[in-house]
Amino acid sequence: MSAPKILSVDDSRMIHTLIGKGFNGYDVQLVFASNGQEGLEVAAREMPDVILLDVTMPVMDGIECLGKLKADPALKDIPVIMLTAEAGKENVLKIAKMGVRDYIVKPFSEAGIIDRVSRLVDLKPKGGVAAPTPPAAAAATVAPAAQASAPKKQKSVTEAIKVLIVEEYPAIIESITKAVSKIGWNVVGCASPAEALPHVAATVPPNDTPDVILISLAFPNKAALSFYASVRSNPQLKTVPVMGLCVKTATFEQNDAKETGFAGSITKPLDLVELPDRLVRAMNLDNTPLFYTSEGDVQILSIPQDFSDTGSVDLVRYSRPKLAGFVNAGYAKLIMDLSGVKKFEIPLLRAVASILSECNSLDIAWRIVGSDDDVSTLPTVLSTNQKVAALKDIPSPFQGKSSVDVFPTRAAAIGSF
């Protein structure tokens, strides 16, 4: 399949140059026109996959050009993204009614354009060949091409995930480091976006680039948003999630970050139990390798002491295909080890019940491990028998079972199958 063809119709050579720079690392064909009339001619000749169309232009403006494109049976299905500084409600409604696919408000970042275009065509990074320089901008020396390479390969949750934290306060970096190092992840902490830039440069070898980035939204002059653009300008980091760090009341900053393309925001004070699970979710990683192990032909699911709502929801989500995979592979025994659980709250209760129900529906025999010895003097701590009693309130996993035996050790549970 040939590289997607993108037509930029704009009377500004600056815009053509920025588009040329933005797509420099991608395997695309760029064609340019400087007004609506020329745009129609080039569109008919080149049949582009996407058209980026300015509004205010001499000879024929973008609105008239869009109308003519939509009236031409041969061109009407080419998706058009309007590029305009005039984002008033009336203008946006007018162009939306004319069948425009999307619009980008000026001022814009190169990353923003790539993001919008990538929703319409499959953008693939290219290997080291410079994108064509727009003919009208030939006099300008375009910055050296980013060292293009394939997007970063996604790791498993149990591999050494690299977390880049850009945060002014060392105590925050230290807290996050402590939370994620428990699962074997590595942290690089930087006190400012400027200090972090070398870690996201196109020259960084793929193995050294971060897998997830956390940046404070409190840096002045929207520096976190500029940093985001720098991250996205590196084709290797096109899919690496970037998350904001801020206080709960910083709603404007959170909205700005969301509109820019951040994967979300983590608010301070940090919930250090939830935080790793939020990062796992942002990276779209299967979290089951953190909890499932095997002993012989038995699968062990160990529920940890600290388990967040996010983690429990994702565990249920990813357990379904995992349990089906066990059965497909010939395994049919599971031990649910609850001995480490100190607080048996509703989300975890539901998660355990859902997983056991899934086992029932797949005919996986299951046992619960724990003992009354794991009770401490704290009133909120339940014994495993109390946890099982709580589980019985949710009927599905226990249908048809008059009693549920709780085994004090895994060995005892395995021996009972």
Partner: protein, 169 residues
């Protein structure tokens, strides 16, 4: 940005509102397009005429329920720095003119959007750019004359905006 549309109904406050819009969008445009930090360096919502400008000066006309013109005057060295930051390399005079025209378009386009959302629909002209050390501009029939200076971080120079406008409901 959130603007109280009722303010525009008061002719005495129109200049202040336009100044507020400019103070929001000029730093945003410069930060997003050139990565440069800009702060308002003083503005006058009832600026005297004629207004004296110098440097590389972009202008865009407004017509409709708002008639008027927006001027953006970059100090010459600043215009070159901004153009080279945006284009990523050496900028010729033609490149600089083109960048100033486009930045003027972005600032004026956002001003226009805010005015349109408040019921003052208007259209923009194609930007044009002039250069000079003594550019005197005036619009005697304009009911609003706003002048505002912006200072770039790092001593790169300053930018002056002059808006002449008449608003009709």
């Amino acid at each position: 940005m959130n603007i109280d549309a009722a303010i525009l109904a008061d002719p005495n406050k129109r200049g202040t509102l336009i100044l507020e819009i400019l103070n929001y969008y000029v730093p945003e445009v410069m930060q997003t397009m050139a990565g440069l930090t800009v702060v308002p360096g003083g503005g006058n919502p009832s600026a005297p005429q004629p207004s004296l400008l110098k440097g590389v000066t972009g202008s865009i006309g407004l017509s409709g329920k708002v008639t008027g013109i927006v001027y953006t005057a970059f100090q010459e060295n600043l215009a070159k720095v901004v153009a080279e930051k945006i284009l990523g390399g050496e900028a010729s005079d033609q490149d600089i003119n083109d960048v100033v025209a486009e930045l003027t378009n972005m600032i004026t386009g956002n001003l226009k959007s805010q005015l349109c959302d408040m019921g003052y629909n208007c259209a923009l002209s194609i930007p044009s750019v002039v250069r000079g050390e003594h550019i005197s501009v005036s619009a005697k029939t304009a009911s609003v004359s706003v002048r505002s200076d912006y200072v770039f971080d790092g001593g790169l120079g300053s930018l002056t905006l002059q808006v002449f406008a008449t608003l009709e409901k």
